[in-house]
Amino acid sequence: MTPVHVGEFQEEGGVVLTSVDSVINWARKNSIWPLPLGLSCCAIEFMAVAASRFDMARFGAEVARFSPRQADLMLVAGTLTYKMGECCRRLYDQMGEPKWVIAMGACAASGGMFRSYPVMQGIDHVIPVDFYIPGCPPRPEMVLNALIQLQKKISKDRPTQQIFRRPAAAPAGPGRLAAPTA
C-alpha cells in the first residue's frame, strides 16, 4: 500500500486524510458569524466593511447575527458606557462557545478620547478581548486585518482537546478581566 500523507487527496479513493483539529478549525475560521455591537460611529465603518467594496464575505464573515446565540464573534464597535456595559457583558455571556471578541476603535479599546464619568476605559474591563483595532474610526482594511489575524488564531486552536479530554478547569480569562477577584 502506498503511504498516505495527512491532508493529501487521493484521486482513486476520493479520500482525504487529515486531523480532526484541522477540519474543525477550517470550518470555524471560514464561517465567523459576527455579532455587531454597534455603539457609535464605528458601527458605520463596520457597515462599510460588510458592504461590497471591502466585503467581509470574502472571509466568510458576512452573516451578521443580531442574536448572541447564533454568533461566534462579538465585534464591539464604539464607545461603551458603564450603563451599557451590563448589556455588553450579558450578550457576551449569552454567546455559545467558542466565542471571540474584537474591540473595534479607540473607544472600545481604551475609552478613546472620553476620559469622563460615564465611559468605560476599554471593554476589557468587563469582557475578554482577542484583538484590539486602533483608529478613530479604524479603516475597513484594519478590521479585515483583525479578522484575518483571528482566523490565524483559530487555526492554531486545538478543539479536540476539549472534545475528547475534559480540561480540569476552564482557563482564566485573559488580561484585566482576571484582576477584579479580591
Partner: protein, 176 residues
C-alpha cells in the same frame, strides 16, 4: 445694553407688576428672571396669552454657579411657532433647597428634560409626575454636571467593572 425691551418683554413685565421679574439682554436675546414662586404663572401667561402664544417648550435645563447665591438656575426655553419668536425664562434656587417648579402641567414634553436636569444637577422639579434619573444608572449617587464633580468620575474602573458584572448576572426577572 442700550437696547429697548421688545414688546413681548414689556407685555410680561406689565402683566406682573411688583412680582420681582427682571428682564435682561445679551446680544439682542432677552430673558426674564423670575422668582421661583411666580415661574409657573409667568409660563402659563406666556403660553396662553394669544398675543404672546409661546406654545412650544424647547428645553428645560439647569446651570450651576457655585460662587453665586442662589447657586442653581433653571432655564425654560420657549418658542412661539406662530410668531417665530424665542424667549428664556430663568429662575434660581439655593443649594440647601434645590427645588424649582415643574413645567409638566403646562407642557408634557418637559418630563424628560426635567429628569435630565435632575439627573445631572440634583435640582428637583416640584410637581413632576415621575422624577427619576434618566441617563445615569438608578443607583448612581452623585450629580455629574455640578462643578465640584470630577470630570473622570468618582468610582474607579475596577469598582465599575464589578458593578457591571454583578448587574449582568442578575436573573432576568429582577431587572429594574
Amino acid at each position: 445694553m442700550a437696547e429697548t425691551q421688545p414688546p413681548t418683554v414689556q407685555k410680561v413685565l406689565a402683566a406682573f407688576p411688583g412680582a420681582g421679574i427682571a428682564a435682561r439682554e445679551f446680544r439682542g436675546q432677552w430673558w426674564l428672571e423670575v422668582p421661583r414662586e411666580r415661574v409657573l404663572e409667568v409660563l402659563r401667561r406666556l403660553r396662553d396669552d394669544p398675543e404672546l402664544a409661546f406654545d412650544f417648550l424647547n428645553d428645560v435645563t439647569c446651570t450651576d454657579h457655585p460662587e453665586e447665591e442662589p447657586r442653581f438656575r433653571a432655564v425654560y426655553i420657549l418658542t412661539s411657532l406662530s410668531r417665530k419668536e424665542r424667549i428664556r425664562v430663568k429662575t434660581s434656587c439655593p443649594e440647601d433647597d434645590p427645588v424649582v417648579p415643574s413645567a409638566t402641567p403646562l407642557w408634557a414634553g418637559a418630563n424628560w428634560h426635567e429628569r435630565e436636569a435632575y439627573d445631572m444637577f440634583g435640582v428637583r422639579f416640584e410637581g413632576h409626575p415621575d422624577l427619576r434619573r434618566i441617563l445615569m444608572p438608578e443607583d448612581f449617587d452623585a450629580f455629574p454636571l455640578r462643578k465640584e464633580f470630577p470630570m473622570e468620575g468618582e468610582r474607579s474602573d475596577r469598582d465599575w467593572a464589578r458593578w457591571v458584572i454583578d448587574r449582568a448576572r442578575r436573573p432576568e426577572g429582577t431587572l429594574p
